[in-house]
């Protein structure tokens, strides 16, 4: 009788310990999955802001007469944002799957080796519309920016 009582208590303790371990294990798995989805969402948000809003900020900071132009290369379009009248410019272009930004003389060749990586994108296209509206398309979507300073009319 005594051994039966002891085995019942032992079995009971085993079940309780197993339930605790199972609950702890499920909690850890659920927490890890939640953290992974949150980290992925945060990365996606940061990528969208880098590929979209950063271009608009670059243009707004250098919105002067005729500052924003688009040139074409074998790799694709290049967004050239002149830095005032210094003769230097910010050039934004795609090489491979990366969107790059470099700073150099406006008429100098592109320097991908010394460029800063803005983000990863397989698509980079620029459309110019009427009244100074530019439409830039990347993997993260489309961004519009309006250039307020137009070229001065010929006298």
């Amino acid at each position: 009788m005594r051994s039966d009582g002891r085995s019942t208590v032992f079995f009971y303790r085993l079940v309780i310990a197993g339930l605790f371990l199972a609950g702890f294990f499920l909690l850890v798995v659920f927490g890890a999955r939640t953290y992974r989805s949150i980290a992925a969402g945060q990365e996606q948000n940061s990528r969208a802001r880098a590929l979209l809003s950063y271009l608009s900020v670059c243009v707004k900071g250098n919105d002067t007469e005729g500052a924003v132009t688009v040139s074409q290369t074998d790799e694709g379009p290049v967004l050239v944002i002149a830095d005032g009248v210094s003769g230097y410019a910010i050039r934004i272009y795609r090489e491979g799957n990366r969107l790059l930004e470099d700073y150099g003389k406006a008429d100098a060749p592109l320097n991908p080796a010394g460029a800063q990586v803005i983000g990863e994108t397989k698509v980079f296209s620029i459309e110019t519309g009427a009244d100074g509206l530019f439409e830039v398309t990347t993997d993260a979507g489309k961004t519009l920016f309006h250039v307020k300073c137009k070229e001065a009319p010929d006298e």
Binding site: T34, Q44, A48, L52, S53, D131, G141
Partner: protein, 158 residues
């Protein structure tokens, strides 16, 4: 041993077992409460992460609408700039002009999308001496997520 002694001995054996079961039940109850609180926290954090993604998209859609409005002289021009796949509707009521543009979750133009960008166009005549102020409101599933007020400036030539 007397009968009373044997009875007392049985009670003493029963008390430790009863105490054990009670303590185990209390421990299990506390453990379940802790798990429920942590699961609630995890679910809440996931929900906030989803809201952050929606807000990021809403801010960007509002930025695009503001840039297009700055490049437009009238609501019809703004409609032409934003319209793609028939996702823009222009309606006038009571002297006010309202544009509604719909976008999908990936910010692509979609007439049946969950995002709706409402642009209340303010004409120069209504502004008087000041700058005309337009209001851009972004809705997600009919809930206002982000509101942006813009004042369109005149063309600048140097």
């Amino acid at each position: 041993m007397s009968r009373e002694g044997m009875r007392n001995r049985g009670k003493k054996q029963a008390r430790p077992a009863t105490a054990f079961y009670m303590e185990t039940l209390m421990l299990a109850a506390v453990f379940v409460a802790v798990i429920l609180v942590l699961v609630r926290i995890f679910a809440l954090s996931g929900q906030m992460s989803g809201r952050a993604g929606i807000l990021t998209c809403a801010v960007h859609l509002a930025e695009n609408a503001a840039e297009a409005a700055a490049a437009s002289e009238n609501p019809e021009t703004l409609k032409e700039l934003l319209e793609e796949n028939g996702n823009v509707r222009l309606q006038e009521s009571g002297g006010e002009c309202m544009l509604c543009a719909w976008y999908a979750d990936d910010m692509s133009p979609a007439p049946e999308g969950d995002f709706r960008v409402d642009i209340r166009w303010a004409s120069a005549e209504s502004a008087g001496e000041g700058l005309p102020r337009s209001t851009i409101t972004v809705y997600w599933e009919e809930e206002a997520v982000y509101t942006l007020e813009i004042a369109c400036r005149q063309e600048v030539t140097s």
